[in-house]
Subunit: 209 residues, 2 copies
């Protein structure tokens, strides 16, 4: 539904005037919709303008360039992913925390496949700003996990830190393949992700600097 | 040194005529040189033409487009990497095979940082041909490793296969960070890579489909 809908007699309905905040929000929402339909790289300013029923110029009032718009979409998705996978605060057992977080992560990836790929493409992007968004999502996940390491009797050495970051890359690769080929059940992929982190961390804990 | 060098009196030296095979080889060699100097995305047809002392048109006789040239460069690098890390045929112990292969891998990454990043960018590339090159390098590494799984008493289940592929992503992430920040010694990074694979595979072997 766009704000440029026409009424039954074909005449444009009166366009409701949006405040800048509301308009920016609308453009981002429509952008996220388009990512889901056609993947990030095919989301053009023209397509967003058409769907919003506004001019290209108006969009450039809110976002400097297509790249800037894509960056805002990816940044927002990274935030959504991190919020959805926030570990429960009322659970003490770190392995149970991991299990719940991975459950939420799998849900997120299943429901937001195109957005997820969009964020991941940023990890190796040529554009430093895009790379920074993807990197900071990995850093945030890594820090959450490292916060639990002491509860498991694991000292946060450089090897452990490098490994937990590397594990986020492992998870991304496994998830991309899993949502595509579904060779494992949901229970099995969950068990795999949950088992892989302690296994890697224990191996890393034996390595000196 | 280019074939368009001028002689002492400033007149162009006679250009030696290259056969098509030799010319293609020269263009790829100069392309790889440029990747090392400025990274793949900044390697233009103009720069290669200048360095080779030939016209842009001549290069398009060998490569359809810049994209096609980049693809050839990345494909060649993936082959070099796989050849360099070929496991020794005369070693029976699979952990020793892994140790030697990781040694060679670390050497390769240290000596070919820009090329390595170029190949990795392909893993999430929008271009399916580029993605296929990077994927096939991961698949080749995965298959080499899975070939040794039975010697270690590990059955190649879908979970184990997914994990070994995911491990290649882990290794890539760890190596990219390591060549940049060098927080670990070479011995430590080697130990980390060698310890991580059996740890992950053992965890995956406990997961049902």
């Amino acid at each position: 539904m766009t704000v440029a809908d026409t009424s039954a007699d074909g005449a444009p309905t009166r366009r409701r005037r949006m405040g800048p905040q509301e308009r920016r929000r609308q453009l981002l929402d429509l952008g996220q919709e388009l990512v889901a339909e056609r993947s990030l790289e095919n989301v053009t300013i023209e397509a967003v303008a058409e769907r919003a029923g506004v001019s290209r110029g108006l969009i450039f009032h809110y976002f400097e360039s297509k790249q800037d718009f894509h960056l805002a979409l990816v940044r927002e998705q990274a935030e959504v992913m991190l919020a959805r996978t926030m570990p429960p605060a009322d659970v003490a057992d770190p392995l149970e925390v991991l299990s719940r977080a991975m459950d939420a992560y799998i849900d997120y990836v299943e429901q937001n496949h195109a957005h997820y790929i969009g964020v991941l493409r940023g990890t190796l992007s040529v554009d430093p700003a895009m790379r920074a968004v993807a990197d900071s999502a990995r850093i945030a996940m890594t820090e959450r996990i490292l916060g639990h390491a002491p509860d498991l009797g694991i000292a946060v050495t450089p090897a452990v830190e490098l490994t937990v970051r590397g594990w986020t890359a492992y998870v991304e690769d496994v998830m991309i393949r899993w949502v595509t080929d579904r060779q494992l059940s949901r229970e099995a992929i969950h068990a795999l992700l949950v088992a892989s982190l302690p296994a890697l961390a224990a191996a890393a804990a034996t390595v000196d600097t």
